[in-house]
């Protein structure tokens, strides 16, 4: 009996011990918790390109570059109705994929701080500032002070305050880059996909972002002179900030999101995938790129921004109508093949670079600032530089450049320069970029700046003729967790997106 008990208890003890483990095993042994900054930055830069795309996916419709083929079919782009969307991708791309990877609770800056990599902190802050500027320009008020502190119901800061913080981040970033520590980990082409670790270029980029920011408010802050200084500083050392994709790759991760293969590297992309196949160029775009309709003479950039359609015709579709037969003013029997193909243009191929910011934008900022300072000669010169730089970028032949620069499409005389000339040329140069929507809204969609614009046929009657002004916050999270702030802002209303942003409200450019 005793022996049996003893044997049994030993047996039990052995069995029990074999099935015992330490309780401290709630960590994932096959995934890292932290990696050095040089292994974080490239992914942040790739995500920033995605983030900018996630805004442009819709703003390119709202700024009248594109419209759907079928017309009256897409709630957001044709009827300006965002009430039934499940997610707003652009919110996530800014706050999580870009912002959290820089400054979040597990962001790059944490490790950079520990390791003394203040160069990565500098670039991180500049990228964060840039991302915040783009995000607030589509969303308006949003959390800044209480972002990344763990709160599920942070206070939304006013856009004005966010603008101040963006500038502060730019200053801090520039300061870090001007004082890179001896012990800082090196930054090179492997870890910095944009500028290969050239701090000077990053500082110029920061100034360019500052110029973009100042342009949005200069009209009501009397800031054009100041802006002109900033933009000149930026132009001093600026080089295009582009996220470049490889010439050819089979990986869906290594393609421009505007590309023909409609890349969708992760399921989160589903709601922001490009649909250019079922999209047509608008009549606004076609008019802007036409020199003489009768002779079918076009701006040479048309052939660079798009590829020929099957019928080699270049029609333009009305906003929100497309080919919707009952409402179109297009010739009977028009098909999508009578339009330019939107894929495989300079900005819309799988291997196109994705622009953060391009030099043309700075020329046109300079032109606009000088225009309002009544320095027409400077304005004209910058305007022409912008056009010419764009023609050259798109690979237009030298002969054609000379021809075009001398055509009626380009203002030759400073006295003839109108604001619409600057804005329309900027609009073409910034084809598909979200920044164009900022300009369009600053000018209140007005024909004094955008002569061919009109109110879309299928915008819902309940909007009462108002133009779309902003994106909704992410319905799946913000409206659920932060109902008090949403209520304070009034963002729960069906027509919330028709409420102007701070700098639109203040803008005195909306009417001529």
């Amino acid at each position: 009996m005793k022996r049996t008990l003893k044997t049994l208890s030993i047996l039990l003890a052995v069995l029990f011990v074999t099935s015992c483990n330490d309780l401290d095993l709630n960590y994932n042994p096959v995934q890292p918790v932290t990696v050095p900054s040089n292994q974080r930055l490239p992914a942040i830069q790739a995500n920033l390109a995605y983030s900018l795309y996630s805004q442009a996916r819709y703003t390119s419709f709202h700024s009248y570059y594109l419209t759907t083929r079928t017309g009256n079919s897409n709630a957001q782009t044709d009827t300006w109705n965002y009430n039934n969307i499940t997610r707003m991708g652009a919110w996530r791309w800014h706050y999580f994929d870009v912002g959290s990877n820089i400054a979040g609770p597990a962001g790059m800056m944490l490790r950079a701080q520990e390791d003394g990599d203040n160069n990565y902190i500098g670039v991180g802050k500049i990228l964060l500032a840039f991302s915040f500027l783009g995000a607030t320009d589509v969303f308006g008020d949003m959390p800044f002070d209480e972002a990344y502190n763990g709160s599920f119901n942070p206070i939304y800061d006013s856009q004005e305050k966010i603008y101040e913080n963006v500038e502060r981040l730019l200053d801090e970033g520039i300061n870090e880059l001007q004082n890179v520590g001896e012990s800082a980990r090196s930054m090179n082409a492997l870890s910095d996909v944009i500028y290969a670790g050239d701090y000077g270029k990053w500082i110029s980029f920061a100034e360019a972002v500052r110029a973009r920011l100042k342009l949005h408010t200069a009209n009501f802050t009397n800031g054009y002179a100041n802006l002109l200084t900033t933009v000149n500083t930026a132009l001093g050392g600026f080089e295009d900030a582009m996220f470049v994709y490889p010439e050819s790759s089979v990986s869906t991760w290594e393609k421009n999101l505007w590309g023909e293969s409609r890349p969708s590297p992760e399921w989160q992309f589903a709601d922001i995938r490009n649909d250019l196949l079922n999209t047509l160029p608008t009549d606004v775009l076609m008019k802007a790129l036409t020199i003489d309709e009768a002779t079918q003479q076009f701006d040479p950039r048309l052939y660079k921004l798009t590829t020929p359609g099957a019928n080699n015709k270049y029609l333009g579709a009305q906003m929100s109508i497309g080919l919707n037969s009952a409402n179109t003013n297009l010739p009977t029997g028009t098909t999508y093949q009578d339009f330019a193909n939107l894929y495989n243009g300079y900005w819309t191929a799988d291997n196109s670079p994705y622009p953060y910011m391009i030099k043309e934008e700075l020329y046109f900022i300079k032109a606009e600032a000088a225009f309002y300072l009544n320095d027409m000669e400077t304005a004209l010169a910058a305007y022409k530089q912008g056009i010419e730089h764009n023609l050259r970028r798109l690979g237009v032949e030298e002969g054609q450049i000379i021809n075009f620069m001398g055509s009626i499409r380009v203002v030759q005389n400073a006295d003839d320069l109108e604001i619409s000339d600057i804005m329309m040329q900027k609009w073409i140069a910034l084809y598909l970029q979200a920044e164009s929507w900022v300009d369009v809204r600053r000018y209140g969609y007005g024909t004094h700046a955008y002569p061919d614009m009109y109110y879309p046929r299928f915008a819902l009657a309940e909007w009462g003729g108002r133009y779309i002004q902003r994106f909704v916050y992410d319905p799946q999270t913000e409206y659920v967790y932060n109902p008090k702030e949403i209520a304070r802002l009034g963002a729960g209303a069906r027509d919330w997106i028709f409420t102007p942003l701070w700098w639109v409200e203040k803008s005195n450019l909306k009417t001529p």
Binding site: L23, R92, Q337
Partner: protein, 1004 residues
């Protein structure tokens, strides 16, 4: 074969025999005094020896015995009888039922068998036979309607789809609401990863002896950390002492589609009323008379055949009993290219090692391979592509004679990437496969050092090797035109190790004290390796071997969890009159931070058998009450944040979308339950009533969170909710004669839930996996938990719809709670009728109220294939509503409005209430008619018993639902691990099939 087996086991049995001289052979028949029928499997034992025999199918026995020895006749539930052997060669015995042991024995927490009479909480038992009468491959489906308080809903009619079971309402908004699953004392895997079948469906229904359902926290309190949602305790059959019994069965099922959603067959493709070949939506002109219109939904589904064969052997001696079974099931499906191949093998034995020690061991091997043509997403959507496919194309036309895809519409510039193709292409060419090899081993050593004390140690492991694979054949329009194969291989195991000491002793004649002390360890590990390979270089080999290097992504996963617990259970009974019980359990878990990782779960309960006071023999009546508070830990690895590698240019690491939360606290559930059990007329009428109130506090959720927090998904303590309800189970035997018996059971229940508190400022919480445009599955503060949130029309204070000046109703932009997906009332009604050799059983299932969010219709509405569009499009209609006047008053709307595309797309489609339907149903779950061939005929055929069975499952449903079958659950039990219960959400659900079966049962 039979002979060999007989010989083999006879040899085993013989080894323990002692042969006497002067033997005679005694024969006889043992019958029951209750009904006069022979008792099968009764034991005849020679007193003081190991010699024993069992009665056969006719109740006859024969045994070699010496004159003067005593024979003991015994059978479970009967009073034993002893006879001294004299000269007579025949001893027939009539056994009387033992009123004492007539009391039902039920299996409770930790596999402890208790007398239901003294039980202090509600436990419901479903016998293996009742389960099998339903003829369902998935045992959870077989339980439908048989348990009061269990809401069981399958995700649809395909063998690879999961079924969800919720006891007494849901306890959390994201994650698993399902009860703990225990098979023979060890925890088993019931996950449904990737939206595939819930893994308890692997268990062969043929092997099940019975199932105990511990509905409340008190019943399950000894499971502590897992007790919050109740527990399902499955006991498999075990070997019985006596003659070898060999049984076999074969069943064949024919399955056809059930109730289907309707479509319009009037308008062809296009937009704005004109024909457009390039458009995939059906908003074009009317079909011309010469254009074919295909009823694609009906054409898609087919008739399928299922075979199910089983064999089991059962027998043993006093020292060793065994049960061996094997099963094979080859199931077809009404969904094309869908089938299941399942093999079960179970061997189980109990050895009496000494008079005080016994060992039970079992091994269960399962292979379950399922191929499915329809692959949904985590949010369901199985047949959406079929519901929206234009009716001008034949869905069955999907490939060309050379096997290449046949595109219904393709633009000249397109290589097929953006073409339109019949959904049948995907079904036939891009199926998903889930292959499982599972091995459950279980050993239990029991030692009885004293007659009032039992020590037991159990060690078990449920090991599942699962392969999940999806293929996209090159040429398939869409993202993966060049082809893709995704595979994840996972090996998971649950290791359970339990030590129990059970002490039971009578004191002072009238007191019985039972004490259980124990400890357990529960380890879970899942290691996975998966790959995603794109762009096949060789188009007909679907392997990562034939893709370029940068088209290949590998992922390794490893999750682990360890839990320990110690517990005790003390119960004191006085004279069968009064029982009081206290349990306590302390858990330690690895999934919470050290400061939160241990918690205590107590329960208190009591029962009062008041019938003992007044004439206890004629009736039975008991009151019971219990209170329990149990804790629950968090999902694995939710306390810290990891980085994840990305494949973008330059590579590098990003923050994982799921952020860690080191402050997670355990979730707590407290439950109060009160009930009564009554029994009259010699136990021919039994009533069991229960009321419960359950509160879940600090429930742990893993939803999407505000992005400014820095994460996309996070686990946190999100609030509290309450469920309360009543359960009634009435069992009656209205007729009982020698030839005829009718037994009927009605299970009825109602559960009401309320969201009590949300963390932070949350008022309405939408479930990630069920947000379907105008309506979402969601929970709103102070409302029912399984709600629907969406928009409604603008209404006046009196409730009239406000109509605008153009005659169209006005949408109210504010979303609110517009539905409750939980049925208001449920009834399951099981009937069993025996007449001579015939037996018939059938189950009615009634559901009253509860809403469905009909997202399938919403989907069809957006592309123009919905039935109502055919009925109403372009017609003029005067909306029943009121128009606001300038002075603020309202007048009745008289203006007619045209129901055109813009109306449907921008008005009707945007309003959630248009897609919420309150439904009722009356349905037959199954009818099973069995017939046993007369004994004489059977023996002439060389078998002991031959039974025939005709059965039908889900033959009809009567319902007011406008869609397909109203049993819907779009995302299954725990979609992707973070989804919530989606019962009542119809998002392209595959309607339940109806089937008819024929079966054959043989006992050798």
């Amino acid at each position: 074969m039979k002979k060999t087996l007989h010989l083999l086991f006879a040899m085993l049995v013989l080894t323990s025999h002692t042969v006497f001289a002067q033997e005679t052979t005694v024969r006889g028949v043992i019958t029951s005094s209750e009904d006069g029928l022979p008792i099968i499997g009764a034991t005849v034992k020679v007193d003081g020896t190991n010699i024993a025999a069992s009665t056969d199918r006719n109740g006859s026995y024969e045994i070699k015995v010496s004159k003067g020895q005593t024979l003991n006749f015994s059978f479970i539930g009967m009073l034993s009888v002893s006879r001294i052997v004299g000269d007579e060669p025949t001893i027939d015995v009539v056994l009387d039922p033992d009123q004492q042991s007539m009391d039902e024995i039920v299996v409770t927490a930790l596999g402890i068998e208790r007398n239901k009479k003294n039980l202090t909480y509600s436990v419901q038992k479903v016998s293996g036979d009742d389960l099998r009468a339903s003829n369902q491959g998935n045992i959870l489906n077989g339980l439908q309607g048989q348990i009061a308080g269990a809401q069981i809903s399958s995700s649809g009619g395909s063998p690879g789809l999961p079924t969800e079971i919720i006891l007494r309402g849901s306890t959390t908004l994201t994650g698993d609401n399902q009860p703990l699953m225990i098979v023979d004392g060890i925890r088993v895997n019931n996950s449904s990863s990737n939206g595939t079948v819930n893994r308890v469906a692997d268990i062969n229904p043929e092997d099940i002896e019975d199932i105990s359902i511990l509905k409340g926290a008190a019943a399950a309190a000894l499971y502590g950390i897992d007790a919050a949602s109740g527990a399902i305790i499955i006991t498999t059959k075990k070997g019985k002492e006596g003659v070898i019994q060999i049984g076999g069965s074969y069943k064949a099922f024919v399955e056809t589609m059930g109730r289907l959603p309707r479509q319009q067959g009037i308008y062809t493709t296009g937009t704005g009323g004109t024909y457009d070949e390039s458009s995939g939506s059906s908003w074009g002109r009317k079909f011309r008379y010469d254009e074919p219109i295909y009823n694609n939904v009906e054409r898609f589904f087919q008739t399928a055949l299922t075979h199910d064969a089983n064999l089991n052997i059962n027998g043993g001696s006093e020292k060793l009993q065994y049960y061996v079974s094997g099963g094979y099931r080859n199931a077809g499906s009404m969904v094309p290219n869908t089938e299941q191949d399942k093999i079960n093998f179970l061997i189980k034995g109990t050895a009496q090692l000494s008079s005080k020690m016994s060992l039970t061991a079992s091994a269960n091997y399962i292979q379950n391979n399922i191929q499915e043509g329809l692959g949904g997403a985590t949010a369901g959507g199985w047949i959406n592509s079929i519901l929206t496919y234009p009716l001008k194309y034949d869905i069955l036309n999907y490939e060309r004679p050379n096997g290449e895809p046949w595109y219904a519409y393709i633009e000249p510039e397109d290589d097929g990437r953006d073409a339109r193709i019949s959904p049948m292409w995907g079904v036939m060419r891009n199926p998903r496969n889930n292959n499982v090899d599972r091995f459950i081993v279980n050993g239990n050593l029991e030692y009885k050092p004293l007659d009032w004390m039992t020590l037991s140690y159990r060690l078990g492991q449920d090991y599942t090797a699962s392969k999940y694979r999806t293929v996209v054949t090159p040429g398939t329009p869409g993202d993966f035109f060049e082809g893709r194969v995704n595979e994840s291989n996972g090996n998971s195991r649950y290791v359970t190790s339990i030590f129990n000491a059970t002490m039971q002793k009578d004191f002072l004649d009238d007191f019985n004290v039972a004490l259980i002390l124990g400890g357990s360890s529960d380890y879970y590990e899942s290691a996975g390796l998966g790959y995603q390979a794109e762009d096949f270089l060789v188009p007909d080999i679907f392997s990562p071997n034939v893709v370029t290097k940068d088209g290949l992504i590998l992922t390794e996963t490893l999750t682990r969890r360890q839990r320990y617990a110690i517990y005790g259970d003390l119960s004191v009974s006085y004279k069968n009159l009064l029982t009081l019980a206290v349990t306590g359990r302390n858990d330690w878990t690895s999934t919470l931070s050290p400061q939160h990782r241990q918690f205590y779960s107590p329960s208190f309960s009591g029962s009062f058998t008041f019938s003992e006071l007044i004439n206890p023999d004629s009736w039975y009546g008991k009151l019971r009450a219990s209170y329990a508070r149990v804790g629950k830990d968090a999902p694995i690895y939710k306390t810290n944040t990891n980085l994840r590698q990305v494949a973008t240019i330059g590579g590098g690491f990003v923050v994982d979308a799921s952020g860690g939360n080191p402050d997670l606290k355990p979730e707590r559930t407290s439950e109060f339950e009160i009930g009564t059990e009554l029994s009259f007329l010699d136990r021919r009428l039994n009533v069991d009533l229960t009321y419960y109130e359950r509160k879940s506090i600090d429930m742990i959720m893993t939803p999407r969170v505000p992005l400014p927090s820095g994460y996309v998904i996070m686990t946190f303590n999100a609030g509290s909710l309450k469920n309360n309800g009543v359960e009634a189970s009435v069992n009656a035997i209205p007729i009982k004669t020698n030839d005829f018996m009718w037994s009927t059971t009605v299970n009825a229940w109602k559960n009401t839930s309320k969201m009590l508190e949300f963390a932070g400022d949350i008022v309405t919480f939408k479930y990630t996996n069920a947000q379907l445009n105008a309506g979402s599955a969601a929970t709103t503060l102070d409302k029912h938990v399984l709600g629907i949130v969406g928009t409604d029309y603008k209404r006046t204070e009196e409730g009239y719809i406000v109509v605008d000046a153009n005659g169209y109703p006005v949408i109210d932009g504010t979303e609110k709670d517009i539905g409750n997906r939980e049925p208001e009332f449920n009834i399951g009604w099981l009937n069993k009728i025996n007449y001579k050799n015939f037996n018939l059983s059938f189950l009615w299932d009634f559901r009253f109220g509860g809403d469905i969010l009909n997202a399938s219709r919403q989907r069809m509405m957006s592309v123009g294939t919905a039935y109502d569009i055919g009925q109403w499009r372009d017609k003029e209609f005067v909306f029943n509503g009121v128009v606001a006047q300038e002075d603020g008053s309202y007048v009745k709307n008289e203006k007619s409005a045209v129901l055109d595309y813009s109306y449907f797309a921008n008005n009707y489609y945007q309003v959630g209430t248009n897609f919420v339907e309150k439904i009722n149903w009356a349905r037959i779950r199954f009818i099973t008619l069995g017939y046993n061939l007369p004994q004489s005929l059977a023996s002439r055929m060389g078998v002991q018993r031959l039974g025939l069975e005709f059965s039908t499952q889900n033959p009809f449903v009567i319902t007011n639902y406008s869609g397909g079958d109203p049993e819907v659950n779009s995302a299954g039990p725990n979609a992707g691990g973070s989804g919530a219960s989606t019962m009542g959400v119809d998002n392209g659900a595959i309607p339940l099939a109806k089937s008819f079966s024929f079966g054959l049962n043989i006992t050798l």
